[in-house]
């Protein structure tokens, strides 16, 4: 996975020049990142596209947003920077003071005030943003491009503030005096709690802004992410209104997350996952769980990092790294230099610590953007994230109960859990009831591997005995049915090993990359299944399934015959969702080719 095009361009890109041009100098916040030039370049790309480039809202609008958020978070470094910049843009001191004190008194036009209020709300408590808030901005005359830009500027403010909390650079300007802390000033907790806003979303769920179709063929950055992720996450699709901002983000993401010269991708994805959990951002939790699986972690391990990384199999040092990131990402005011020193004592180098800080900043950027745009999930969040298991502080019940733009941690109570508990305490009747519920699923998982009915029946017996023997070890981290399928797969694979000419389940993905374009392009009958008896159709489908490569067969059977969700199939097979989607499509297309000769308008008679 790489962004070769970007790396080449990176050599010609001078981040310091970007800041000199945009600010007139290089801020100390940027200089503090010199140990890792590629993250400095990523920061420059973001600032260049978001802050410096002329967009739908003016530079002064943007600086006002940045300053208000910095003041709200009492980030002395950023508020000195932003008030210095506003002053250099010709904004009178008195207006800057007003912004610092309590912005409603600032001499602003009502639309400008509405925009600031929106951005502050998003920065303080992203999950309270609703579609109505977007509508209110439109009513104030803001175009969708401007709203998108304001959301991205807010996200950038949090990127900067996260960096500044950790890097504590010397201010570039003399910091202005802030009024004493008032109640309304953001505390860490208020970023995550929603004191009064429990309004449901009215009108539209999400995404809040229109996103014109942008083809990966004509917009290469999307093709790159499609290649690296296996699909284009909604996170990026939702921003196509502004391809320039999208491109800068994709480049920053590539420069920060993909190289493995200091932190590994697993370490970085784990940071993104745990900080997103702490921010209650289920969209980002789901996507990073999936990416971790794509990096070779088992589904259980990835889920465990989300539920409580302290109980995962990560090393002591990695757990400390995640604690560091969560503290920085969510309890920034408690953060101090000692936190970084703690990591150093565990053997982390200067570059690794810097990288973890930048990844945390990027996470807060993405979490804010996702909530501000109401981006819909690509996948269901991991089913194990039940609220009682979440390692979170704060009043989550309110958050849970709220029908927000993003469902915060879908609670998926496994329907089997009660019977499982009884079976675990030795109740045979409960066990029998459980396996009867899932006999068809187990059998289909078995025959998908063994391709022989008698063999699958024998393996069914092995599976049931093995399930009973091991049920005490089932910890409820996945659904019980998922666990049963994994027992069944083991039983089937054991049998296969006894056979000659074993069919490999793990053929290399590259082998399958030949064209899956349709060869049969004759139109099909209107209701093809009505021209054949049910048993003819069933035989035809069964024979078609048996001739599919094994890795497609099991996925088509679980998804289309057992009707499991793509996410459940991914869990059961320990695959990423994109991998399941790819194989499912290929399996379906191969079956289509198989069925076509029997079902086109020119085909007649029986299914032979």
């Amino acid at each position: 996975m790489s962004f070769p095009g970007d790396i080449r361009r990176e050599q010609e890109f001078d981040p310091l020049a970007v800041f000199r041009e945009g600010f007139g100098f290089v801020p100390n916040l940027v200089r503090a990142q010199t140990a890792l030039p590629r993250v400095m370049a990523a920061h420059a790309k973001l600032e260049e596209a978001v802050t410096f480039r002329d967009g739908a809202i003016s530079r002064i609008h943007k600086e006002r947003i940045l300053l208000s958020i910095a003041a709200d978070r009492r980030d002395n470094y950023c508020l000195a920077l932003d008030s210095g910049l506003l002053s250099s843009l010709g904004v009178p001191e008195v207006q800057i003071d007003d912004l610092l004190n309590a912005f409603p008194r600032a001499n602003l036009l009502p639309p400008d005030l509405a925009l600031l209020e929106f951005c502050l709300k998003l920065s303080r408590n992203a999950s309270s943003v609703r579609y109505q808030d977007i509508e209110a901005l439109r009513a104030n005359g803001f175009r969708d491009e401007a709203i998108l830009e304001a959301v991205v500027v807010t996200a950038l403010a949090l990127y900067r503030c996260t960096l500044s909390a950790a890097l504590a650079p010397e201010p570039d300007f003399r910091p202005p005096n802030l009024p004493p802390k008032k109640n309304q000033v953001a505390s860490d907790a208020s970023l995550r709690t929603a004191p009064s806003d429990i309004r449901p979303n009215v009108g539209q769920k999400g995404p809040y802004l229109p996103a014109p179709y942008l083809s990966p063929n004509s917009f290469t950055p999307l093709a790159v992410v499609q290649k690296s992720h296996g699909f284009i996450p909604n996170f990026f699709r939702a921003q196509t209104l502004r391809p320039d901002l999208l491109q800068a983000e994709l480049e920053a993401v590539g420069a920060i997350l993909l190289p493995e010269d200091f932190l590994t991708r697993v370490q970085k994805e784990s940071i993104l996952l745990t900080v997103s959990v702490a921010n209650l951002n289920s969209y980002c939790v789901a996507i990073h769980c999936n990416l971790l699986r794509g990096l070779g972690l088992s589904a259980e391990e990835a889920d465990q990092i989300a539920v409580d990384h302290h109980l995962s199999h990560l090393s002591k040092a990695d757990i400390a790294l995640l604690d560091f990131a969560v503290k920085l990402g969510t309890r920034f005011s408690e953060f101090s230099r000692e936190d970084a020193a703690g990591l150093q004592n565990l053997g982390f180098g200067q570059e690794q610590i810097l990288e973890s800080i930048v990844v945390t900043a990027l996470n807060n950027f993405s979490n804010t953007l996702q909530m501000g745009l109401g981006i819909e999930p690509d996948f269901a969040p991991p089913s194990v994230l039940e609220k009682n298991k979440l390692n979170l502080s704060g009043p989550q019940p309110t958050l849970m109960a709220r029908g927000g733009p993003v469902q915060v941690f879908e609670t998926l109570q496994d329907v089997d859990s009660e019977l499982v508990a009884q079976a675990q305490s030795g109740n045979l009747q409960a066990f029998e009831e459980l396996v009867r519920r899932h006999t068809q699923l187990i059998y289909r998982a078995l025959i998908a591997i063994l391709r022989d009915s008698a063999d699958a029946q024998d393996a069914l017996q092995d599976t049931l005995l093995s399930a009973f023997k091991h049920i005490g070890g089932f910890q409820g981290r996945s659904k019980f049915s998922t666990w049963l399928v994994s027992i069944a797969r083991n039983a089937a694979l054991q049998r296969l090993r006894g056979r000659r000419n074993m069919e490999s389940l793990d053929q290399n993905d590259s082998q399958e990359d030949h064209d899956f374009r349709p060869r049969q392009i004759a139109a099909w009958q209107e209701n093809p299944e009505q021209n054949h008896s049910k048993s003819e159709i069933r035989q035809l489908v069964e024979r078609g399934l048996l001739q599919l490569p094994a890795k497609y067969r099991i996925i088509v059977m679980l998804r289309d015959i057992e009707q499991l969700s793509t996410d459940d199939v991914a869990h059961q097979l320990g695959l990423t969702v994109p991998a399941v989607k790819t194989r499912l499509l290929r399996g379906r297309l191969m079956l289509r080719e198989w069925l076509a000769p029997h079902l086109t308008t020119s085909a007649r008679g029986a299914a032979q």
Binding site: F431, Q461, F468, D560, T566
Partner: protein, 80 residues
């Protein structure tokens, strides 16, 4: 209008009903004008329906009952 390649890139998500309204609009415009993609889409949808409703590899109760009974009696014997 988008090309067949672009249509195909979105095809998996379209079959699963997982595309945004904007993407859907583009895809449907393409479908209305491209016979080959239309056949591909129509027959793929029918394939999914046929496979889903085929009851393939359903194990009849008269086959699995004795298997479960055998397992349960084995477990009961082991217990006593």
């Amino acid at each position: 209008m988008i090309t067949c390649d672009e249509f195909f890139a979105e095809f998996a998500d379209y079959l699963e009903n997982q595309v945004s309204p904007e993407v859907r609009q583009e895809l449907e415009l393409h479908l209305s004008q491209c016979r080959v993609c239309h056949v591909l889409y129509d027959s793929s949808r029918k394939t999914i329906k046929i496979v889903s409703e085929s009851n393939s590899f359903e194990l009849p109760q008269k086959v699995f009952d004795p298997i479960i009974d055998r397992v349960m009696s084995k477990l009961r014997t082991e217990r006593s």
